[in-house]
Symmetry: C2
Amino acid sequence: MADGLTLDSVRAAAARLYGVAHRTTVLTSAALDQHCGGHVVLKAEVFQRGGSFKFRGAYNKLSQLDAAQRTRGVVAYSSGNHGAAVALAARLLGIGAVVVVPANGPAVKLAAIEGYGAELRRYDPARESRAEVAAQIAAERSMTIVRPFDDYEVMAGQGTVGLELAARVPDLGLVLVPVGGGGLAAGVATAVKGLIPTATVIGVEPTSAADTSLSVRAGHRVSIAEPDTIADGLRARQPGELTFPITSRLLADVVTVSEEEIVEAMRFCFSRLKIVVEPSGAVALAALLVGLVPAATQTGVVLSGGNVDPADFAALMKA
Amino acid sequence: MADGLTLDSVRAAAARLYGVAHRTTVLTSAALDQHCGGHVVLKAEVFQRGGSFKFRGAYNKLSQLDAAQRTRGVVAYSSGNHGAAVALAARLLGIGAVVVVPANGPAVKLAAIEGYGAELRRYDPARESRAEVAAQIAAERSMTIVRPFDDYEVMAGQGTVGLELAARVPDLGLVLVPVGGGGLAAGVATAVKGLIPTATVIGVEPTSAADTSLSVRAGHRVSIAEPDTIADGLRARQPGELTFPITSRLLADVVTVSEEEIVEAMRFCFSRLKIVVEPSGAVALAALLVGLVPAATQTGVVLSGGNVDPADFAALMKA
């Protein structure tokens, strides 16, 4: 596997994902273009297998394991999209998978992971560290740990989102991408800047999970308190060790949006686009809708996932 | 304009709509295929301009008005998708439009119609008949009435949904389509049966708005009491005078689904497909999901619209 993230490693990931991951559609909206004063292309990863971009990175990683590693299996820690993505990729490749999940995690999401055939290992978030639980399992069973973002092959897989966007809109001036641990942002920025050096790539995160924004300003990785945000996929407390050097070099800026702005963007997607976008998936659009970042003549926005429980969605729409 | 509905009149409508209406995407779901035991292709009219199939019929009708008719304008009665569709088509063609709406209609929908530039004429549903109000306006101002379904050109426009579905899946064995007044069902059945005579087309309506189902069984048009259903686009009290001879001849059956089954289908679309489907738009899928109609090897399902207020949707998901 490659030691680093390059346009070529993203292209290699695209070749592995060909015919396996969906080449997701892009959506446009005349109302959105008028509102923003530019043409906006929305990359709808809500339609990706497993409901988010995470499948790309997980499959790219798992498909490169050798026969011995495949036999021993993989372990991931995540109650959310990464857990489901690893479970799905493992099933497709015939690899055993353990997913470490909080005992109090949402039943719907845990059932989805189990539905893909993965073994659940519940841990108590108050007493245990999920990374340590995963490390212990990996050591005991000689399993390969699949990190959610701090892995060049995971990043390369996520970067195929940017590759497809740049292929679809060759004159992209601006790309907005959600930032959690930074895997998607690093991958997309590497692909887009590699193909279109003049394009500006900007990261977006919730104001209450501004670890990357703060780190970029500080010039080094800053750790924040446990974030309190509805964007459950973006609750990283600090940027990744491997992602941060890439995002801090390639992103022109990292901006933040409020919880209310995230909900408004979800509502726009529901009412105007007729698609379901989860809170984490809506932050990039939120930044554009509120005018935090002015649109370019051609702007790409990553809607990174659509896994939100109908009841949770209902509560947000009513509030 | 044609006196009757034929495959050729649907084809002519398609030519008029080319480059104006969206040729909407089709969606598929491995989970749905497995559940149904056949391949299911969902025609996503939620992505149509104005958020429902209604734009097709309205534009096909309005685009054929002569210069004098265009100058005098059009009038429609509907607080829902037909009203918005006529308003949008009129704006695109530079035609004045009056839309007769209930004074107590949902503010969001009335605002949408007004947003497309149509003149609203509010009436009191307790005291007035909307058809009579529209007829009076048409007489006073020499305007053309655009009926929501009982018009061959409106039906031909809606039929382009079937034309696109049959072109996309040439070996369709079964098509499920929502039935309100019968315009969509008549158009789709004419197109599908015209292109694929072996295909079975089945209509679906809410149990509490079973006017077409009862009429088909009676052999003549039956009128029912004011329907009480969340499927606000399917509240016709009796089949159309022009639509019924067509639907009763071409539909193999008309089946009914409960309110709960409609909500379940909406939830499936939200959770699994990540798209927003309004109650009326979900009835055909509901019939398939509950096994009321067994899937064919290739089944087409029309998801006819996605205009549902987020707060109303929230209330349905929580119930």
